[in-house]
């Protein structure tokens, strides 16, 4: 059973916009045991779209179209599906009533254009859209002797997701062989993908019924495991088994056994030990704080800190002696140490974490002149002891900043293990 997703809209053929709806639809279909074999992106063009639907009818069992259900002349999905199937559209009275009601409730006059949003493919089921004017349509039909399922969804992601999850998935479940998908996600920080693959492939390759996907990026390796079986229990047992064997192999390198982010894990570990963390950020300029504070209820364990982007602020906000900055440079083991201790003391927190480094461009004057772009010092003070580590991060400014924040979080996690 294979599917094709057709995203309709000329804006997705520009350099500015991308189809992202298909990721959500793919995830939902995969959970039902259906693979997506084709994705097509097509403009608001009657001939191109009708032809693309004809092609899809030949090669896929399930065809899901997103977009082109609005009221304007450019919205052609309904008409093109009807033409490709050689069938017709009928104005649905109940859909018309709902449209009129929707406009009346908002006190807006319904333009005559909108009426075409009530046009239903022959034999299709209308799926009511609670957050927009375009209803979705679900059709099971026969095309050239083959059973085909055709779904029309509106383009706005919020409407599409609600309609797909709440109304299409239950209809698909009824018409598909019973299948359940289980998932697990292991996450590791800051180790090379090749190393992870070399150590884990001998394990996951033994599980031919479990699909393993390794994703690397942003200083992190993710191992996604999925398994489809007639029952969820059987599928879950398989992904759990492979995930647990890989966890044993990789040990403490695995920071998350159920998909949580590194910042979530650090906050959780701090919370369990009733510790409060504050930070002093120089080259990352707020990125670390931003990541921690993006987690709801972070304030239990993350208190804030100082952005000491300019050297003067290292003195003003964390009490780093100006002489020390002049002697050693702002990017130095010594300054990282005093920053971590200074912010810990000024905030009254249990742990102080500091980052100072050269994210790029290169520094050409002052005490840090000539130090390499990517040189980063991270300090962690707990009141008794302060550890400082030196890192050399390759890549551009954004990458240096992101990896520095990743190293800082990982230093806290390893300390709390």
């Amino acid at each position: 059973m294979i599917a094709e997703i057709i995203a309709v809209g000329s804006e997705m053929l520009t350099p500015f916009r991308q189809d992202t709806n298909s990721l959500h639809i793919t995830s939902g279909l995969n959970e039902l045991g259906v693979a997506v074999a084709f994705k097509t992106i097509i403009g608001d063009n009657r001939e191109h779209l009708t032809d693309a639907i004809r092609i899809a009818l030949r090669r896929a069992d399930i065809i899901i179209l997103s977009g082109g259900l609005g009221p304007t002349e450019d919205d052609l999905t309904r008409e093109c599906v009807a033409e490709a199937l050689g069938t017709g559209l009928t104005r649905d009275e109940s859909a018309m009533e709902l449209l009129k009601k929707r406009f009346a409730e908002r006190g807006i006059a319904m333009s005559p254009n909108n009426a075409k949003q009530a046009d239903l493919l022959h034999g299709a089921t209308l799926l009511q859209n609670r957050s927009g004017s375009a209803p979705a349509q679900y059709l099971q039909t026969d095309s050239g002797g083959y059973a085909r399922t055709i779904i029309l969804l509106p383009g706005p992601p919020r409407e599409l997701k609600a309609l797909f999850n709440e109304q299409c998935v239950p209809l698909l479940v009824k018409n598909l062989p019973p299948n359940a998908m289980a998932k697990r996600l292991l996450r590791m920080a800051l180790i090379p993908e090749s190393q992870v693959d070399a150590r884990t492939a001998p394990i996951y390759q033994q599980y031919s019924d479990v699909e393993t996907t390794i994703l690397a990026g942003s200083g992190e390796i993710q191992l996604h495991f999925t398994c489809v079986k007639p029952t969820l229990e059987d599928a879950q047992a398989r992904v759990d088994e492979v995930a647990e064997r890989i966890e044993r192999e990789m040990g403490d390198d695995v920071f998350s056994a159920h998909g949580e982010s590194l910042e979530e894990i650090v906050l959780l570990m701090l919370g369990m030990r009733d510790l409060k963390l504050s930070v002093a950020e120089s080259c990352t300029g707020g990125l670390l704080s931003q990541r921690l504070s993006a987690i709801p209820n972070a304030s239990r364990s993350f208190h804030g800190g100082a952005i000491v982007y300019a050297s003067e602020q290292k003195e003003n906000l964390c009490g780093v002696p100006w002489d020390l900055i002049q002697q050693k440079g702002a990017v130095s083991e010594e300054v990282a140490r005093v920053l971590a201790e200074g912010i810990r003391e000024r905030t009254g927190c249990s742990l102080g974490l500091s980052i100072t480094g050269i994210a790029g461009p290169a520094v050409t004057e002052g005490p840090d002149a000539g130090k390499a772009v990517g040189l980063v010092y991270i300090g962690l003070a707990d009141g008794t002891d302060t550890q400082v580590k030196e890192f050399h991060i390759s890549g551009d400014r954004d990458r240096v900043r992101l990896w520095a924040s990743q190293h800082a979080l990982e230093m806290v996690r390893r300390m709390l293990l």
Copy 2:
């Protein structure tokens, strides 16, 4: 002249990965006056891919394939293009030599698989890849009586971009009618898209030779103008004319007339006036600092500040009296005022900017209990005067935080106008 882009690779049919190469290719083709009419994403499947290429040969003049040029059995693009064209592949001796040299330089044994990377379509030009082992191919051919240009590019974005920009574009230019594209980008913050469209449509609709794209999101509206003409001068004159008329209509709402981001503009305006800015962030937790410090050389005008995420830190780091927080709540006009003044004073900067608000979830105890999620106060102190504004931002935690940082930057910009 229309193009189809075919992205090859099973990973792009999962929920985890997306084709992004096509955005870069589209931008390059558009500049040559070529529109992309179709995008197809297809797995590493011989039958599916060959069929997709046959379809593309029928409907597009230029066909660009990315991916599937590696050495493994799954890498099928060369073979499938040859099959769809009914032509053959020849092992190219010079390409073989380059491959061998590449492996020798790295001290790695070349596996026999790699040899197929030297297989060239009959009549194609080989384009040497300086950063990977897969060369690209450029072929002009005749398919069923129609002239077709077929380009094969490797999937890794860095290799693809270099090969496309440096080698394919010059070849395409030679074979296409002379055309040049001019672009302009106007950006506005925090005004509704409908308002922008109502005021600007009467202007841009007069320019049928200029393509106008309005993008809204993240507290910002972008107006992209592009125009293709035989000469760049003519094209530039047209986009400049429409952009300047729209700038006059929208006035100060336009923060950027040439595409700069809001944080770049704020830093530029601060720099021109030799002013230093520091910030005190509560609910945004570092997001504003992070945006400012992401711009290279920001430290000339952005000094840093305090992340006062926990209430205690508002007292510790910015000197907000604890009594005031108890009486008025941390999310109050009064606290926003003292935060802005406090951070300005402690950092010795010319301007102090503060953000305090409820990003969600709702506060259930303490002096801020019951205040609405999305309530945000922003303070701006310049040493003589402190202005505080109240905002009500709808949406989830991420949106409240992002819009609050946008409002804060916009407050600084308007003050400096």
